[in-house]
Amino acid sequence: MTTDASSKTLLITGASKGLGKVIAEYYLDKGWSVFGCARSESQIEHDNYQHFQLDITSPEQVATLFKDIRKYTKHLNALINNAGIASMNAFALTPSHTFEKVFATNVHGTFLFCQKALGMLKRANSSCIINMTTVAVPLQLEGEAVYAASKSAVETLTQIIAKEYGVFNIRCNAIGPSPIQTNLIRSVPKDKIDKLIDHQAIKEMATPEDVTNLVDFFLSPASKMITGQIIYLGGISK
């Protein structure tokens, strides 16, 4: 991979599968240099793609990742905190270790990347962070208390980071996809998905392209006044 000061660079977590892989490939097709990371190996083969395997909840491993990325580029135009884990269980039955695991990945992981990427995002002069949330937050879905609570925390981080990083010309927004056929919802029963879609203004299953469209919108230089915003797909709002 070769980059220079004019290269558009993106770092995305959870890049080995699902939405993360789709977004990484989409921006590679658009000519960006993409750094992806995940716990697992990547199947993306591209000259402008560099993959890193790590645990995003480890401050030491995240620090090493940024040190390694600096060997390729000094700046980042975009950071997408896509890695996340879901948990479906009645609140009363949710084990404590599930809470810790979900919050570690969804909240602590996002925290670490937003913090460690600051210097490289700042160097891009104008850059953007996109965090991933869920419609489980506005819909307050039963059986998803821990997952939704973790994403509520991500939304609050997003809005406060937007305020604090605004002075550095770094924007921070979040996307809350409605149900999409990815690994994350593979085990969710069909009737539950149907019920969820019934809450939407647009009663359809979303596609990965609906998400890349929104990512495009947030990353567009024309969106220079858009920060601290949470957008849910399907017409769901708080």
Binding site: L118, G119, M120, K122, E164, V167
Partner: protein, 94 residues
């Protein structure tokens, strides 16, 4: 790395800060330049941005230092008062 080399990096960070500051808000380069004091050139977020730039410039030299940590920010005798105090502080971290 000696004090003069550390100061060169701090001055580079001052230049970066000056690039986005108004003409009448430029930060002079000098060891006595007040950074984060009552009458200093940086407010709290300005200091954060400045320290991030200094950290990045050290990373360019393959040196990792953490300036903007809670402990340093809350020290009674702030290491961020002037270019000289910042230089002295960085020297202790290397």
């Amino acid at each position: 790395m000696n004090q003069s080399e550390i100061q060169d990096i701090i001055y580079q960070a001052i230049e970066m800060a000056n690039n986005v500051r108004e003409d009448d808000k430029q930060i002079p380069k000098g060891v006595d330049t007040a950074l984060y004091t009552k009458d200093g050139h940086l407010d709290s977020m300005g200091l954060v941005g400045f320290l991030i730039d200094v950290e990045e410039l050290f990373l360019d030299e393959d040196i990792q230092i953490a300036l903007s940590d809670e402990k340093a920010m809350s020290q009674k005798n702030s290491p961020f008062k002037t270019v000289q105090t910042l230089t002295d502080y960085i020297e202790t971290l290397l």
